[in-house]
Amino acid sequence: MEPLSAESRQVTEVLREMRDRPELFNERLFPILYQVMKKMARKQLNNEREARTLQPTVLVHEAYMRLVGSDQEWQNRAHFLSCASNVMRQILIDYARRRISAKRGSGAVRVPLGDDQAVPTALSLDAILAVNEALDRLKEFDPLKEELVKLKFFGGLTVAEVAKVKGISLTTAKDHLRAAQAWMNRELSGAAPR
């Protein structure tokens, strides 16, 4: 695997410097990761005959392995993957906003899930924006759950990976995610009590 020496040093340095001030991780790491991940994605696209093979989940994991490496302590892994999830979130939200704005003008969206709350076969761009807005509201009173949902939904991590990077047990992660999902489902379907 080709190392990204300059960027890797930069990311590792930010992770080290910010260890005692986790609130600054995203502020410091996000712009670096955003550019580095884009550079990796561009390279990957250029190397692929079929441009549609770019896998965002692979991008998140590969960025971690190439920039930080597997021998980092779990706090660094958590901060890195959280920030990478924010990058993916930003990419998808920006795209959804552009598309929706171009189609019918911007505005708040409500996503009907149907009476049986069935899992949609494919998420719509409206749904992406609605999830994003609901996550912002969730963060106001339960930032841990917002973080867990973000890692899973926008970072593409499995529940086991989410538990590992947050340093909690799998059972605890599942409990948090179940409550978060119930709350999000309720918000997104407009069924919250007034």
Partner: protein, 234 residues
């Protein structure tokens, strides 16, 4: 909703989902006694506890394939953000060449011809170099290519001094090249670090001459112009 209220709702919800039918109802009756709003909140959450919904998977797996591919394509195609202009700096002047510009005999030196080189989409022409003569990156050279070159430790800098931790990450100093006057100038950057030119602290625009010593952090750089008295891009 406050964090405290949510914790209360969640605690009852977590216990309730472990129970079914009458046992759940009887638990809710007991846990929400005297708090009708709490019961409404918990029951609406239980009704939304489908074990799935939008968040069952990930947006990266569940978003329509075409949308996800387009989002990634558009992101990759986004241009790199241009550096913010700094108000305190004099921008390179775009004007006709002034009298007195030294140039090789027979050359037609114009601002337009320089600009066209940068606008062709190919590599920007070399304007000069910095050569590291002291510090962790001693022996390394850096190319001066554009009209405004930010020097710092971050990889996004135009001139990245990556081996010296005492150099500020973001814009420790700036070197500009003014094609209309065919001259280079050194400015202090927006970071806290101080930059020295031939041993003197730089606190404003300072014109650069060949082999001047620029010091920032533990790094010393010698300035080697390519454009100058003997050459200018035409």
């Amino acid at each position: 909703m406050t964090s405290e209220r949510w914790q209360q709702i969640e605690a009852v919800f977590r216990e309730a989902v472990r129970r079914e039918g009458d046992k759940r109802l009887s638990y809710l009756e007991k846990a929400c006694q005297g708090d009708a709003d709490l019961r409404v909140e918990v029951e609406s959450l239980l009704a939304s506890d489908s074990g799935g919904g939008l968040l069952e998977g990930s947006a990266l797996d569940s978003l329509a394939t075409e949308d996800l591919a387009s989002a990634m394509d558009e992101w990759c195609a986004e241009p790199q953000p241009k550096p913010e202009p700094q108000a305190q700096l004099e921008p390179p002047e775009v004007a006709t060449p002034v009298a007195g510009v030294s140039a090789p005999a027979g050359s037609e030196l114009t601002v337009a011809s320089f600009a066209s080189l940068s606008a062709q989409g190919g590599p920007e022409p070399i304007l000069g170099w910095l050569v590291c003569v002291q510090g962790p990156d001693q022996g390394r050279d850096y190319r001066i290519r554009c009209a405004r070159n930010r020097i710092g430790r971050a990889s996004l800098m135009d001139i990245c001094i990556e081996g010296d931790n005492s150099v500020s990450r973001d814009t420790h100093a700036i070197i500009t090249y003014d094609p209309s006057r065919n001259r280079f100038r050194l400015y202090p950057g927006s970071a806290h670090g101080i930059v020295y030119l031939n041993g003197r602290c730089v606190d404003g625009a300072s014109e650069l001459s060949a082999y001047d010593l620029i010091e920032l952090g533990k790094t010393g750089l010698r300035f080697v112009p390519f454009c100058g008295e003997r050459f200018q891009w035409t």
